[in-house]
Amino acid sequence: MRLLALSLMVLGAVDETSLSAIERGLTPFTTLHAHFLQKKSISGFSKPLLSEGEIDLTKGQGIYWHTEKPFDSGLRITPQGVEELHGGQARPLASGQGAGAREVGTLLFSLVAMDLEGLKGRFELVGASRQPTGSFQVALRPRDASVRKVVDEVVLQGKSTLERVTLREGNGDQTDILFTQMQLDRQAPGAPASPALENGRGDAGKAGP
């Protein structure tokens, strides 16, 4: 066990330099708005599921994932939990504690926010590289075996912003998300990135048991 910890530390030290270089290369932001294109390959399905839409993210507050095609639906992820927005109605994903959903939800939030510091606590860097051109790639694996059964590996790619996320799930599914038209801090910092997100914080606060 100690040996493992030691080797992890060595690994971490190796990655630390490239990781901090990547972090320095990122444009800092408080809010983020982008268009996304998602390809979800479900194992056992012959065709992947394609969707697209918009995301709004405010650091420290949450993310609103708005799918526009092939149908209109929303997913609101805040530190309090994950909610499905369906036909104007918000419903917590998994009634009750929904701890697992929150776990995966906060993961997505940390990924899109490129909160590498936050991710390092629960993820182990299995690879990080930065080209002289400034494009980077970071591969992460959950430190925890039980989380690995759900999310096996995450790969982040980008340049000064995040451009592509690949999520490999333990069950064989794989999700590729491409971000385009990324706008950072398009509103005054501190203002809510989207009305839906603002709304979500209020709701989630009340819904707590």
Binding site: Q38, L49, E84, G100, G105, S146, K149, D173, P209
Partner: protein
């Protein structure tokens, strides 16, 4: 003969001393556990079993909430805490992170039953929602980048119902698993939960102190590692605090009274030898009592030790009375003095044994042990006084003390007599009337908290941990019964749906029941039918879902497995799985009347909320709301009445003894102590002091000791009454010092007891000379 008896007794005491000494080498097994000392609820054996099982579990558990602004720091601090504890003796498990792979464990266990498992919300949705809505939701869930956990291919849980059901299994709870941590979020802080399981519940006092020191040390390690707050909860903290408090009081109050007694004795006798002679019987009595209790029970309750040794202190009387004979000038014959006092101390020990036999006959473990402890201790002390003292006091030098002598003569001469003081008679009658009024104002409350008043900060900390974690209310639960497992589970489900409504209304935070992990067979069958009809069967949406996504072949595969699968999940399956470990005390299993289970609730506020739950329970068949602490308090009230009657019986017994010896003058012996006890009760009533079991216990003790004073005065030998008065006074002052000082204790039970004794013994001592015959002067 005298030598043979004394020799035999010496041998017996030696054997006992060796026995106790051998135990003491390993530390006396003193049990400071509180629940163990409580009486079993006589009316409710099943509730006892439930409480016992929960207490066993709870007694071993310690919970830390390690708080920090974020999870990583809190987690690191939790690890530091656990590292500090690892390897120390007395700890069975230390769990700073969820080591077991919780989700896959759950997934594996419930997988065979996945088509018959639904949450309340899912059930409602499947019953009422239209097909397109169900279909849309299922499609959206598949598209979501993140969502419900699915540990297998899409065909095992195409619409996410199984994953969702697993997440809400067992209840709402406030605990969440984040990564490998068990987490409670409260405002801005994140608390990581660290579970510690002790090797055993109810450790001895010394062990507990060591455990608590190690736990506090670990908490300090967590703080050093960055935790902003470390909260702890566990029985062991309370138990150790109670023991420490008792020890502190024993040392301060005990030392105080001892110093007082020594000072008094040295003033009277101006020599340590009489004091040593007077104390010897107590020492021997205590050793014999401890030995007997260890032999009979294998351990001692802390309360027994505190009260019991004090009771044996009564035996100081015998020695005092004996050596008081040396204060008056004249030749000294130890054997003659023994002959003089033998009738007195014989009556005294007989009344004492009678009084404590009453105590020992109660169905209340602590009191029973205490009663036996006192009986053996007193008998041993008496034997020591009668068999050893004459040998040891041979050639005791003249300790006549003119100052004391004069004081005694003055007191005897000046003391008002009932026979010739009209004022005294009027005063006593008036006092009795006032006391009678006071007695009518007595109120009784035998709350369990009497045994132990936890330090406020500790109690607050415990409550805070319970609030944050949503821990179930202590000693309060629903007891559910059924003729078989199925009926029990169905009844639990009926209760659950009522509690679910209460939860929605915010009147409770959570509840736990076995049926939330193992639904009844009826519910499983119904849920399976519902899922077949709405999801997996020919009329269900899953077929259409796969068609819409272009995978019709998968639909058939799902339908055929859903149809094939059906084994009912039984409580026994769940109980065998490690998943049930934290909840096993909810299942009481088979009993003579059928099967029984417990449903605990948490986050219920106030007595109105509890009363409401009691109503909820009362409305359902086979369900009963149990408030164990409340029931116990009620039963203690019952005990108190019985003890009251027994005390009257004891009084009558003493009266018979007294009458046999003193004939028509018996009232002079009985009235002082009777009056004193009555007035004491009256004062307690007037002062609105809670008159509980311990007050009555104090009265019982006062009856025993108070009657002795009058007996000594009546039994004065050929020598004048001064020696008797001195013996009685020394013993009364010693009692007031040793028991009366208990009125300063922080433990309510001890305080009530001390106050009662202070009043009743003080009264008996003052009144006894008033009832002496005139010719006694």
């Amino acid at each position: 003969v005298k030598r043979a008896l004394a020799g035999a007794w010496t041998l017996a005491v030696l054997v006992c001393a060796v026995y106790v000494g051998r135990h003491a080498l390993h530390g006396l097994p003193v049990e400071s556990g509180l629940l163990e000392a409580l009486p079993e609820s006589a009316s409710h054996p099943l509730a006892n079993r439930a409480v016992q099982r929960m207490a066993d579990e709870a007694g071993k558990q310690v919970v830390f909430l390690v708080g920090a602004p974020n999870l990583d720091v809190a987690g690191a601090a939790a690890d530091a805490l656990a590292d500090r504890l690892r390897g120390r003796p007395g700890f069975e498990t230390i769990v700073p992170r969820v080591e077991a792979d919780g989700l896959s464990e759950l997934w594996r266990f419930y997988f065979p039953y996945r088509f018959q498992l639904l949450t309340e919300a899912q059930r409602a949705k499947l019953r009422s929602a239209a097909d397109p809505a169900l279909l849309d939701e299922a499609v959206e869930r598949l598209y979501h980048p993140v969502g419900l956990p699915r540990l297998g291919g899409v065909e095992v849980d195409p619409a996410g119902y199984f994953g969702e059901a697993l997440l809400s299994l067992g209840g709402q709870g406030r605990l969440a698993v984040e990564g490998s941590r068990l987490v409670v979020r409260d405002g801005d802080t994140t608390d990581v939960v660290v579970w510690v399981k002790l090797e055993k519940s109810g450790a001895s006092m010394g062990e507990e102190t060591t455990l608590v020191r190690a736990l506090d040390d670990a908490a300090a390690a967590a703080r050093a590692a960055g935790a902003t707050e470390v909260l702890r909860a566990g029985f062991v903290f309370h138990s150790a605090a109670a023991a420490a408090q008792a020890q502190r009081e024993m040392s301060t109050i005990g030392v105080g009274s001892l110093l007082g007694i020594i000072a008094l004795m040295l003033w009277v006798f101006r020599s340590p030898r009489p004091l040593l002679l007077a104390v010897l019987p107590i020492g021997v009595g205590s050793v014999v009592a401890v030995g007997t209790a260890l032999f009979l029970y294998g351990r001692l309750y802390l309360l027994t030790l505190v009260f019991g040794t004090s009771i044996i202190g009564v035996a100081v009387d015998y020695g005092f009375l004996f050596v008081s004979g040396r204060v008056t000038p004249g030749p000294w014959d130890a054997w003659a003095r023994r002959r003089e006092i033998l009738p007195s101390v014989a009556v005294a020990v007989a009344t004492s044994l009678l009084a404590y036999a009453v105590l020992a006959s109660l169905p209340f473990p602590v009191l029973r042990e205490m009663g036996l402890f006192a009986m053996f201790g007193l008998a041993a002390a008496w034997l020591t006084a009668v068999l050893w003292l004459p040998f040891l006091a041979h050639g005791l030098k003249d300790v006549s003390n003119r100052g004391v002598e004069r004081l005694l003569s003055l007191a005897l001469a000046g003391w008002p007599r009932i026979g010739d003081s009209r004022k005294l008679r009027v005063a006593l009658v008036l006092a009795s009337v006032a006391a009678a009024w006071g007695v009518t104002r007595l109120r009784t409350d035998n709350d369990v908290r009497l045994f132990y008043a936890p330090a406020k900060p500790l109690m607050k900390e415990t409550e805070e941990v319970e609030r944050r974690m949503g821990a179930p209310a202590t000693g309060m639960f629903f007891l559910v019964r059924g003729k078989d497992e199925e009926e029990l589970l169905e009844r639990e489900e009926a209760l659950s749906s009522r509690l679910q409504a209460e939860f929605a209304r915010g009147s409770l935070a959570d509840f736990a029941a076995v049926s939330r992990f193992v639904p009844s067979a009826r519910t499983q069958a119904a849920d399976r039918e519902l899922q077949w009809r709405r999801l997996y069967g020919p009329t269900g949406i899953v077929g259409r879902l796969f068609e819409q996504l272009g995978e019709p072949a998968l639909a058939k595969a799902v339908a055929s497995t859903a149809q094939a699968h059906f084994t009912t999940l039984r409580p026994a399956d769940w109980l065998r799985s490690p998943l049930s470990t934290p909840f096993r005390s909810l299942w009481l299993g088979q009993s003579p009347e059928g099967y029984a289970g417990v449903v605990t609730v948490s986050g219920v506020s106030g007595s109105t909320g509890l009363a409401h739950l009691a109503e909820v329970g009362a409305a359902l068949p086979g369900v009963e709301w149990v408030d164990h602490l409340g029931t116990l308090a009620g039963e203690l009230d019952g005990f108190q009445w019985r003890l009251g009657w027994l005390m009257l019986a004891g009084y009558l017994g003493v009266a018979v003894l007294v009458a046999a010896r003193y004939g028509r003058q018996g009232w002079r012996v009985l009235l002082p102590v009777g009056l004193a006890c009555f007035l004491a009760a009256g004062v307690l009533g007037l002062c609105r002091v809670n008159f509980n079991l311990f007050c009555l216990f104090g009265l019982l003790l006062s009856l025993d000791m108070g009657v002795d004073y009058a007996v000594y005065l009546q039994e004065k030998g050929p020598k004048d009454a001064r020696a008797s008065l001195l013996g009685a006074s020394l013993s009364a002052v010693a009692t007031l010092l040793s028991f009366g000082l208990l009125a300063l204790s922080h433990t309510p039970a001890l305080r009530n007891f001390g106050l009662t004794v202070l009043l009743a013994i003080g009264g008996s001592w003052l009144f006894s000379p008033c009832f002496l015959r005139k010719e006694s002067l």
